[in-house]
């Protein structure tokens, strides 16, 4: 007790601050810095956060109105459709942005058709689904320019894509009515998103399998195909022996038959 009563007096006399005071000062300092920092950062990001939240809110409304009947109210999936938790914004941008979703009817696979939503609405849906769980994001614009190493892209395309999509990107048949679609004049963002997310029966080609730069090269190859006609002339859709064989059987053999008929017919 004595020490207690004499201690503050002594300390005052020597002009020293108590240990409690420095702790309090530290606290005040920390609070002030933290508070000011927090105030500033909130001010700086409030607008963005608010915008994303608003977008996601808008997306949630659209989701509940258009998608929830199959994918579930919390996008948890039902017997009719898979869960969307963790598919990411890229999957939504691809499926809705190409018109594949909402599906018109159940079938072997969802087919591309006129897009049902505006770009804003697609982005809103994507933003909402992205808030459910982490997943592939909508790709960076720098990979979608269509510029890159066309030769590297072509080699990767032949190795990883051509077996289903055809070496000229003309698409091809799979099993039981499913097919790999034509890749001509497809939006580069959709090509990229398809590789990252593996829509429907397409396998996933993640960034560790095909790096974003190589994805850009593949897009460069497909852009090259769009912009350059076949050096061999009329390519008949690039479908290979099917269309070329049909052409030969119908038109070439037809011409041979017609000439033979003309040769042997009597002049009038």
């Amino acid at each position: 007790m004595r020490t207690e009563s004499t201690s503050p007096r002594r300390s005052r006399g020597r002009g020293r601050r108590s240990p409690l005071a420095s702790a309090a000062l530290l606290l005040v300092g920390l609070l002030a810095t933290g508070g000011v920092y927090a105030a500033f950062t909130t001010a700086a990001t409030a607008e963005t956060t608010q915008r994303i939240d608003a977008l996601a809110d808008e997306g949630e409304k659209l989701f509940l109105a258009n998608c929830a009947s199959c994918h579930g109210l919390q996008a948890e999936g039902t017997d009719a459709a898979p869960t969307l938790i963790g598919v990411g914004a890229a999957a939504v941008d691809f499926q809705v942005g190409t018109g594949r979703m909402p599906m018109a009817a159940t079938g072997p696979q969802a087919e591309a058709k006129p897009v049902q939503f505006t770009d804003e609405q697609v982005k809103a849906l994507a933003a909402y689904v992205a808030t459910l769980a982490p997943g592939p994001a909508i790709p960076d614009e720098k990979y979608l320019t269509g510029e890159g190493d066309v030769a590297v892209g072509a080699e990767l395309f032949r190795t990883n894509c051509a077996m289903c999509h055809n070496v000229a990107g003309a698409g091809g048949a799979l099993t039981e009515g499913k097919f790999a679609p034509d890749l001509h004049n497809v939006d580069p963002a959709h090509i990229y998103e398809a590789m990252v997310t593996g829509p429907q029966n397409m396998p996933v080609f993640n960034d560790l399998n095909i790096t974003p730069e190589d994805k850009a090269n593949i897009i460069a190859y497909l852009t090259y195909l769009d912009n350059n006609s076949s050096p061999g002339g009329l390519d008949l859709g690039g479908l290979g022996p099917v269309s070329e064989g049909l052409f030969a059987w119908i038109f070439v053999l037809g011409a041979v038959v017609a000439v033979t008929v003309w040769l042997t017919a009597k002049s009038n």
Binding site: T159, P203, V204, F205, N209, G233, L263
Partner: protein, 354 residues
């Protein structure tokens, strides 16, 4: 022609009578259909109307003129649209126009000739018998005489030593061809080549085409990797090795895999590796459907079910795709446990079937 001229139709061609069959070889048939002969000659418009005849004459001439135009066009186009090095479009234009010109030139000559013969040349039908193949008695006797004389002068039948040695020489002569063609086959026993690939214990699985090794964590669910063995391009014949060792790597949920006894350790946490070479005729099977887990061969539509160890569920393939047993090394990279346990690709004669 309107004016038939003095010669009777068809007399410009030498005709022969049908040969009389020798006695005993002809079968006389009483129910034989009588040859109705040719239908009566129907005059053509150019036979009747001199105006039409001149019109047809001009048409034939026009065809030949068109041929000349085609030739000139081909030469002009070849010079006017030269091939620019490095520009494929210029090759196409040059070749296309050149071909068009030459085709017009040749086709027009043909069309003109046919039209000429059909519309203006004599239109009567006639029968032209084939020449008999048997020579006249005189020719045959002369031929036999030449042979006998040749034999007498050369002594072919008399000098047996020469004759037999010549026959021997001719019989032996093709032997080098057999030796040469034998060497077209693989020098070593092809069976060993067909039964083994370059995969071995501890060899890393790398990405086709860049050879980057694959970590197990890189292979996410639903992924497909086109795989080549590590160091493939350092081998003597990389393409031949690749043709056997190409592998498709997929990750499924472990509970989706139906693993048969003895193969429990062949997959790594749902990551499975199968030979990409179809067991039917060896096409690369790489059309993987990530939801149905079916693998489709594009050549003959064989389908393999990856959930059931690539068993054949459709198509002409007879055997499942061989599975490559895999695991991970200390750094987390996927490695092969061994070579395939059976020969990859299509059947061959000495393959032991199970």
């Amino acid at each position: 022609m309107a004016d038939q001229g003095s010669a009777a139709p068809g007399t410009a061609v030498e005709k022969r009578e049908a040969p009389i069959p020798s006695a005993g070889t002809a079968v006389v048939r009483s129910d034989r259909v009588e040859n109705p002969g040719f239908p009566p000659y129907r005059p053509r418009v150019s036979d009747l109307d001199p105006k039409k005849e001149r019109q047809n004459e001009r048409r034939v001439a026009w065809f030949f003129w068109a041929s000349i135009i085609g030739t000139v066009f081909a030469i002009t186009a070849y010079i006017a649209f030269p091939i620019v090095e490095g520009d494929m479009a210029s090759v196409r234009l040059n070749n296309g126009l050149l071909g068009l010109g030459i085709a017009l030139a040749l086709l027009s000559i043909g069309l003109g000739a046919v039209h000429w013969s059909k519309a203006l040349m004599d239109g009567h039908d006639l029968v032209e018998q084939r020449h008999p193949t048997r020579g006249s008695e005189e020719t045959r006797a002369r031929a036999a005489e030449i042979f006998t004389l040749g034999n007498k002068e050369s002594g072919f039948t008399r000098r047996k030593l020469i004759r037999n040695s010549l026959i021997g020489a001719l019989a032996v002569m093709p032997l080098p061809a057999i030796v040469i063609f034998r060497d077209l086959a693989p020098a070593a026993d092809p069976n060993a080549l067909l039964k083994h690939t370059m995969w071995e214990k501890g060899m890393r699985l790398t990405k086709d085409p860049n050879g980057v090794p694959i970590k197990a964590s890189d292979v996410t669910l639903g992924s497909v990797f086109q795989v080549i063995p590590e160091g493939l391009y350092d081998t003597e014949h990389p393409l031949e090795e690749k043709a056997k060792a190409a592998v498709l790597l997929m990750r499924l949920k472990p509970e989706d895999l139906h693993v048969s006894p003895g193969r429990e350790s062949w997959n790594y946490d749902g990551i499975v590796a199968y030979s990409k070479i179809c067991t039917h005729v060896g096409c690369p099977v790489a059309l993987y459907e990530q939801q149905t887990h079916h693998l489709l061969c594009p050549c003959h539509q064989s389908q393999f079910d990856i959930t059931h160890e690539a068993e054949v569920i459709f198509g002409p393939a007879k055997r499942p795709l061989p599975q490559l047993p895999i695991s991970v090394d200390a750094e987390g990279y996927l490695v092969a446990q061994s070579d395939f346990h059976e020969p990859v690709g299509p059947s061959f004669w000495e393959r032991v079937h199970d």
